[in-house]
Amino acid sequence: MTQEFFQISDEPIQVDEIVKKVESRDAGAITTFIGTVREWTKGKRTLYLEYQAYKPMAIKMLTTIGKEIQTKWPNTEVAITHRVGRLDISDIAVVIAVSSPHRKAAYEANEYAIERIKQIVPIWKKEHWENGETWLGDQLENVPYPEGKPHIKE
C-alpha cells in the first residue's frame, strides 16, 4: 500500500488527491508543496520542460524519503507525486503533502522532502529554451551541462 503514496505520473497531478492520502484524525496540520514550471530563469525564457524518470527506482527513492521523514518526524504521513513527460509553463511538476499532529513538523518535513528529491531521486529535467535545449544536471536548477554532459557541483 505504501507504493500508492509515492508515484510517478504522466498525467496532470490533482493536488487534492495527494492531500487526501495524508489526511488523518491525528493530524493537526497538512502542508503541501506544489512545484510548478517557471518561465524565466536568470534571464532565459523557458518554452516548456520535459521530465524523464527511471520510474521503478524513482518510486523506490520517494518511498525511502517517506521513511526517512517518518523516522525524523514521528507520526507524520507523507505522499509525493512527480510528473514526467512534457510540461508547459505553470504546470505542476511535483506535489508533496505531509500531515502531522503539529504544524512545525509538517513544514520541516515538507522542505526536507523536496531537498532530498533533488539529491537522490532519478528524475531529469530538460529545458526547452527560446534558443535551444539542455538537460539540467544539478539540484539547484541553475547549472546546465555546458558541453551537454553531466556536471557535479561541489
Binding site: G35, Y51, Q52, A53, Y54, P56, M57, A58, K60, H82, A93, V94, I114, I117, K118, Q119, I120, V121, P122, I123, W124, K125, K126, W135, L136, G137, D138, Q139, E141, Y145, G148, K149, P150, H151, I152, K153
Partner: protein, 77 residues
C-alpha cells in the same frame, strides 16, 4: 548479459536508452571505462550507478542478469 539503462543526455549521446552487454561479471568502475571507450560516453566519472535499482559504488560487482542504470546528476523537483 548485463542490461545498461541510459537517461537524459547520455541517452541522446548513445542514441539508445538501453544496451545489452555480453559480460558475465564486471565491477562498476570497469563498466564505466568500457562504456566510455566502446560507446563514446564521456564524463562517466561524474555519474552515479545503480545496480538493480540500488545505488552502487565503484568496487561493487555487477553480474550477468543484473540491470544497471547510469544516473547523471538528477534534476527533479
Amino acid at each position: 548479459m548485463i542490461t545498461v539503462l541510459l537517461f537524459a543526455q547520455l541517452q541522446e549521446d548513445a542514441g539508445t536508452d538501453q544496451l545489452e552487454l555480453n559480460i558475465d561479471e564486471i565491477n562498476v568502475r570497469e563498466l564505466k571505462e568500457r562504456l566510455q571507450s566502446d560507446y563514446n560516453l564521456s564524463k562517466l566519472d561524474q555519474v552515479m550507478v545503480a545496480v538493480n535499482e540500488e545505488y552502487a559504488l565503484d568496487d561493487d560487482v555487477i553480474k550477468k542478469g543484473d540491470t544497471v542504470a547510469i544516473i547523471p546528476p538528477v534534476s527533479g523537483g
